[in-house]
């Protein structure tokens, strides 16, 4: 008798009326990540969408490079690059309607920019001049969340509220592979499934949480498998295949919008750069692995498809690269200006009405600054 059979024997007999709530089979992810590029499915992909994805990928890569360069010049405090993961970032933004909401994690600046947030405003947090530069209401983008997985329950709550109000709004929440270990991940998925909230949970599995590889993060067959236990479908997709990521996320968004409840999508991808500019990736991974992944580059994959189908010629590719350069130049120009900060802003947004204690502290700082500004010896 195998262990499994034995264990079966200890199971309490279910009462006669007991039935599983859901047959888990349709919820289970496929064994292999879903792919479009380089397969027959590619023929069905919309050329306009592919071109748009391509342009955004190229811009995104350039953005990552520019932001990383800015850390070297001391213009950014820190930058977590998403180079190699651009397909996920871009698809997450493009798949949403204007009225939908995006809940990004700290690495997801590109998704935020692709959603229409000003590239400079998207960097305020990392630059250090304020915590969130953009207006979440205007763009329907929550602040980049630094504490991991804590934004997931927010996405569920927002989507639930929209549903209660009769609004046709979907929330897409992004999280890393490491973040799926946090308790908040579990609670968010469970709430979403119980409430049938219109949420898409999008895991970018890039192999590492700083230095910790996936094998030390989970023993599950895949992160997408985690969905099943909550009663929602899990989907597995090649995270470097922009067309596939877009299709899978679009399906999930459609399902959510139609009242079908949440989906967990896991994209298999790779973080090509170090965790941030402050990290030494050679401590935990070898060059060979990185090189292998570089050969499965999201831009190259899409480029091959576009070229093979005659959807991209040299002139079009040039113009895409030119746009990316223009964006990078503008970003550089803005970031090289010292931000003008008013220290008084420290007190501006702690409460709707400042407390008497804060007003006192504000006057204290005002006096200190005035004293500082006095020319030497003028007393």
């Amino acid at each position: 008798m195998t262990v499994m059979e034995q264990r079966g024997a200890y199971r309490p007999t279910p009462p006669p009326a007991w039935q599983p709530r859901t047959d888990p089979a349709p919820l289970l992810p496929d064994a292999e990540p879903y792919r479009v590029l380089g397969t027959e499915a590619a023929a069905g992909a919309d050329p306009e969408l592919l071109r748009r994805l391509y342009a955004e990928l190229v811009k995104g890569r350039r953005y990552n490079a520019q932001a990383t360069a800015l850390t070297k010049q001391g213009r950014l405090a820190v930058y977590p690059s998403s180079t190699g993961q651009e397909a996920c970032e871009v698809a997450a933004a493009l798949v949403l309607e204007e009225r939908d909401w995006l809940f990004p994690s700290y690495r997801d600046t590109l998704a935020v920019v692709a959603r229409g947030v000003d590239p400079v405003e998207a960097l305020t947090l990392l630059r250090g001049d304020w915590h969130t530069g953009y207006d979440p209401q205007q763009h329907r983008v929550a602040p980049l969340s630094t504490p991991l997985a804590t934004q997931l329950p927010h996405a569920v709550g927002l989507a639930h509220a929209a549903r209660l109000k009769g609004d046709d709004v979907v929330a897409l929440a992004m999280v890393g592979d490491g973040g799926t270990s946090e308790g908040d991940f579990h609670e968010a998925l469970n709430f979403a499934a119980v409430w049938q909230a219109p949420v898409v949970f999008f895991v970018q599995n890039n192999g590492f949480a700083i230095s910790v590889p996936l094998a030390k993060q989970t023993a599950a067959p895949s992160l997408a498998h985690k969905a099943v236990g909550y009663g929602m479908p899990g989907r597995l997709v090649d995270g470097n295949d922009a067309a596939a990521v877009h299709e899978v996320l679009a399906d999930a968004v459609r399902r959510a919008r139609a009242g079908g409840g949440p989906t967990l999508v896991e994209a298999i991808t790779y973080r090509v750069e170090a965790h941030t500019n402050a990290d030494d990736a050679t401590r935990y991974r070898g060059d060979a692995e990185v090189e292998t992944w570089k050969r499965h580059d999201p831009i190259a994959l899409l480029e091959q498809e576009l070229t093979a189908r005659g959807l991209l010629d040299e002139a079009a590719a040039d113009s895409v690269r030119q746009d990316a350069e223009t964006m990078a130049a503008a970003l550089r120009a803005h970031m090289n200006r010292d931000p003008e900060l008013d220290p008084m802003d420290l007190f501006a947004h702690v409460y709707a009405e400042p407390t008497p204690q804060l007003l006192e502290q504000r006057e204290q700082l005002r006096a200190e600054l005035a004293a500082e500004a006095e020319p030497e010896g003028a007393q």
Binding site: T124, L125, L126, G178, E182, S211, P339, Q357, L358
Partner: protein, 334 residues
């Protein structure tokens, strides 16, 4: 008599050495946390431990603070001495439930039958230009939770000595590591590293007669600097480094205040509901008749920690301390 070379070492190095020596001395000491193994921790404090002691004793855990501390509770229940690393101050909050509901209360709930000898290391505080959620001073939360010891070193020697003592303690210790002092250097004798005051004792870092600066952790060097600067204005300041917030060393603090008659409490966490309120009250209760002026507090503003470009306006610096010292010339009518 042997003479040992007293070499400069950083606080981070002393902490690493403390962990290593504790692990070598006692096989029940286990280090665990996010990135503590292969990477050696994001501040490299656990560097080399996984290699030397194996991954079972220096373990990269899944990314889950409640899980890390919760499993450490179980490990301690079974006789191990876990030393847990929380990556940054604000990332310890998911573990708050475990800390407050279980770690702090286990001895009490079990009428002493189930002590929890575990150490929670938390890099804390600002001044390193970190983005959001990387600069919190959370000591007031921990201080307000009976059942925990709360300690924070300000010198290289203390970093070693206090961490060894924390790991050896039969009670849970929240060990707050001032991030901005990780790279501070000091001459330090690694051959006699434990000769520091035990947990629960404050030390006078600088003696003086006109007033006492009561401080701890990252604010200690700032107070030392302020004391130097105050000499020019005729003030001879004493600096008391608390080292341990719980237990609190009333004796050393009050002895100092009785000598000087004046006191300022300095810390970078917010003043309202902050550690300074407790300290000022204790000093007033015990030294009322010796005080020439009210006990003043110099603290961070009562704000969520500001972005890096504004943090210098928030952190109590030398000027703000000197200003408070000036106000100690208390007069009845003011």
């Amino acid at each position: 008599m042997t003479t040992v070379a007293v070499k400069p070492a950083t606080m981070a190095q002393a902490l690493t050495r403390a962990l290593r020596d504790a692990m070598a001395a006692d096989p029940s000491v286990h280090v665990m946390g996010e990135d503590v193994g292969t990477l050696g921790g994001v501040f490299r404090v656990t560097d080399g431990l996984a290699k030397e002691f194996g991954e079972d004793r220096c373990t990269d855990t899944p990314l889950a603070e409640a899980g890390i501390l919760g499993t450490a509770v179980g490990m301690a229940m079974y006789g191990l001495r876990p030393v847990v690393e929380m990556q940054f101050d604000a990332f310890a909050y998911p573990a708050f439930e475990q800390l407050v509901s279980h770690v702090a209360k286990m001895r009490n709930r079990t009428r002493g039958r189930m002590p929890l000898p575990l150490t929670v290391r938390i890099p804390y505080g600002g001044g390193i230009g970190g983005v959001e959620h990387h600069s919190d001073s959370s000591e007031a939360y921990y201080m307000a939770t009976p059942g925990l010891h709360v300690v924070t070193p300000a010198t290289v020697a203390d970093a070693y000595g206090l961490l060894r003592a924390a790991i050896a303690s039969d009670d849970p210790v929240v060990f707050l590591e001032p991030k901005r002092l990780y790279w501070s250097k000091d001459s330090w004798n690694p051959e006699e590293p434990t000769s520091v005051e035990p947990i629960g004792r404050a030390v006078v870092r600088r003696s003086g007669r006109s007033a006492t600066l009561i401080t701890y952790g990252p604010s200690v060097p700032v107070c030392m600097e302020a004391a130097e600067a105050a000499r020019a204005e005729g003030w001879d300041l004493e600096v008391v480094d608390l080292r341990s917030l719980v237990p609190f060393d009333d004796e050393t603090v009050c002895a100092s205040v009785r000598r000087t008659g004046r006191a300022v409490v300095v810390h970078e966490s917010g003043g309202f509901g902050g550690p300074g309120g407790e300290i000022a009250a204790r000093v007033t209760e015990r030294c009322f008749h010796h005080l020439e002026a009210p006990v003043l507090r110099v603290a961070g503003f009562d704000l969520p920690y500001p972005p890096p470009m504004l943090e210098r306006h928030h952190l109590p610096g030398v000027d703000r301390i000197l200003d408070a010292v000036g106000r100690l010339q208390w007069e009845a009518e003011s």
